[in-house]
């Protein structure tokens, strides 16, 4: 009795954890061994072997089992976990596509139904081919990223082995199959076919065949875009990524070998810093050159410079004290100081004015001033000084 499709799908859904484990086993080993199957069923405490056989999920091979291709492909598709096809397996499509195309061309004016069937078959072959390429690219991306992230922390030697394996057996040959610059690539073969089909879809007599050609043409154009995209992924992403892993591992091999005995290995010849010291070997010749260049025997005359107004002023206290004593009593000391300085210099410099003010502290004079009186302003070269009016006279000694 034929089982209801919905029942099978429900079964797959209900026991998906077991199904996934069986799928992983077959992906890894190519079949499901009986002991592995028993272990999985025991672990999940399920006895579904009979159902697996009844729903034609398993095919018995001696004591072991194999997931039937239909189910396997379906699981591959929904899990996006593809078993990579060897490029030579993919290449077989080139022969089938070429052969069908040849037959279409030869029988273009013969039996109409055969022609329609051949167009349809060609369509299917091209579809299978693009699907195979896409599956491989997806798988290669997953493998490469896993290598790159190195979650399993695999040894660098194993990493380089895996990277080389993927490059040598899958990526490079697949790239050759897709390479548009390679005249024998399938991509170029499909381009030739699409050119031929393009003409037929426009001018073929039979309406039905024209529609089939049209459908195939659209599909081929789309396929061409897809293949270009896959090729781009391979050349722009996968090859550099995996090449980098290989190069990284090569570098690490170098470091490990170097670190075994770094003192006996030659290192990059980085320049050590050079400084020109004055006592270096060239010092004698440099000095000689310098002395010879600047050694001149012209007579040299030295003379005292003339005094100028800006020369440093030295306060001659005794001179000014005598001058003050002669003029005593003086009714306003600061006025006297200003007048005295102005008689000698054009401006009253603050420093000179302050120097003269020190005469107020001489022992022989007596000061008198009115603290309430207005102050007087004296302008010096760089400030205005408000000073009191101080009267000075000779100090009288003894009792007054």
């Amino acid at each position: 009795m034929r089982t209801e499709p919905r029942t099978i799908l429900n079964f797959l859904s209900n026991y998906f954890d077991i199904i996934k484990e069986l799928f992983d086993l077959q992906l890894k080993d190519g079949l499901v061994r009986r002991e592995d199957l028993n272990a999985i069923l025991a672990e999940h405490d399920s006895d579904i072997l009979n159902k697996l056989i009844e729903y034609k999920f398993f095919k018995k091979i001696a004591d072991d089992f194999e997931i039937r291709p239909m189910y396997f492909k379906f699981l591959e598709f929904i899990l996006s976990e593809f078993k990579p096809l060897l490029p030579e397996t993919i290449e077989k499509y080139e022969h089938s596509v070429t052969s069908l195309f040849k037959k279409i061309k030869e029988g273009i004016n013969k039996d109409r139904n055969i022609l329609l069937q051949r167009i349809s078959d060609l369509n299917n072959e091209v579809r299978d081919f693009t699907e195979a390429v896409e599956k491989n690219t997806l798988r290669l991306i997953a493998e490469t990223k896993e290598l790159k992230s190195n979650v399993d922390k695999i040894d660098y030697r194993e990493k380089v082995r895996k990277a080389s394996f993927w490059i040598d057996y899958y990526i490079t040959p697949l790239n050759t199959i897709l390479d548009v610059s390679n005249a024998d690539s399938i991509t170029n073969r499909l381009l030739d076919i699409s050119q031929y089909i393009n003409v037929r879809r426009l001018n073929f007599d039979d309406e039905m065949a024209r529609q089939q050609f049209e459908k195939l043409y659209v599909f081929l154009v789309q396929t061409n875009d897809d293949l270009l995209r896959q090729s781009k992924i391979l050349t722009n992403e996968l090859l550099p990524l995996i090449e980098r892993i290989r190069s990284e591992s090569m570098i690490l091999t170098g470091w490990i070998e170097f670190l075994k005995n770094p003192n006996k290995s030659e290192t990059p010849f980085i320049q050590k810093s050079i400084r020109a010291y004055p006592y270096n070997n060239a010092m004698y010749f440099n000095s000689l050159e310098y002395v010879q260049e600047y050694m001149q025997n012209d007579d040299v005359y030295l003379e005292d410079p003339k005094l100028s107004a800006n020369d440093k002023w030295i306060f001659n206290k005794e001179f000014y004290r005598e001058q003050l004593m002669k003029e005593l009593p003086v009714p306003n000391f600061f006025e006297w100081a200003g007048v005295t300085l102005r008689s000698e210099y054009e401006d009253i410099e603050t420093e000179k004015f302050f120097s003269l003010s020190t005469l107020l502290f001489e022992d022989d004079i007596e000061l008198e001033f009115d603290p309430t009186a207005d102050r007087q302003v004296i302008r010096t070269s760089d400030m205005n000084l408000r000073v009191p009016k101080i009267k000075i006279k000779i100090k009288r000694h003894g009792l007054s």
């Binding site: 690490l252 670190l259 990059p268 810093s273 050079i274």
Partner: protein
């Protein structure tokens, strides 16, 4: 005779053992006058000037130069330890920011204890600090703060060295195998 712009600085930096980086205005001048400077350093000091796309440096034939050796040991250890932690060391060195403490941790827990303890530049945290200062002066690393730094493109010299070293070793092993 007219000299290129920055002539004094270019000669000074290179003779100081610095890498001149592409981010430096001097680099363009150096690159534009590559022939002149190549001859200049060869004839004057017997040094070879190597100008790459993103850095330039002087090469001397003095193979006993200790600093080069210490830099190789340092970068080699760093790559080895980063790989041991499951990291892509090339990506780390090219893009990541390093922390002096993180470097200390890696080296202090390394299995290359003897090598590290016998190296005056790497034996302890203080020595490493000085060493990082030297790398910074030579433009091999760029300090982002007191403790943080990134590698400049100059790191590639040392990666090329390791790659060639591995190739040399592999070739030597193959020759030995062939002769057996």
């Amino acid at each position: 005779m007219d000299f290129p712009r920055y002539h004094k600085e270019i000669v000074g930096d290179l003779l100081d053992g610095k890498f001149v980086l592409a981010t430096d205005a001097k680099f363009i001048e150096l690159k534009n006058n590559a022939d002149f400077y190549g001859k200049f350093f060869k004839e004057t000091f017997d040094f070879y000037l190597d100008i790459k796309s993103d850095y330039a440096y002087l090469i001397s034939e003095e193979t006993m130069e200790m600093l080069s050796r210490d830099i190789c040991i340092f970068i080699g250890l760093l790559c080895y330890e980063l790989d041991k932690e499951g990291k892509n060391f090339l990506d780390e060195i090219q893009y990541a920011e390093f922390d002096a403490e993180m470097v200390d941790n890696l080296l202090d827990n390394s299995s290359y204890t003897d090598l590290i303890l016998n190296n005056n530049q790497l034996k302890n945290s203080e020595a490493r600090k000085q060493f990082l200062g030297t790398l910074n002066r030579r433009n091999i690393i760029e300090r982002n703060s007191d403790k943080k730094f990134t590698f400049t493109p100059a790191y590639k010299v040392f990666m090329d060295f390791a790659k060639n070293f591995a190739k040399g070793k592999l070739a030597a092993t193959n020759t030995e195998e062939d002769s057996e």
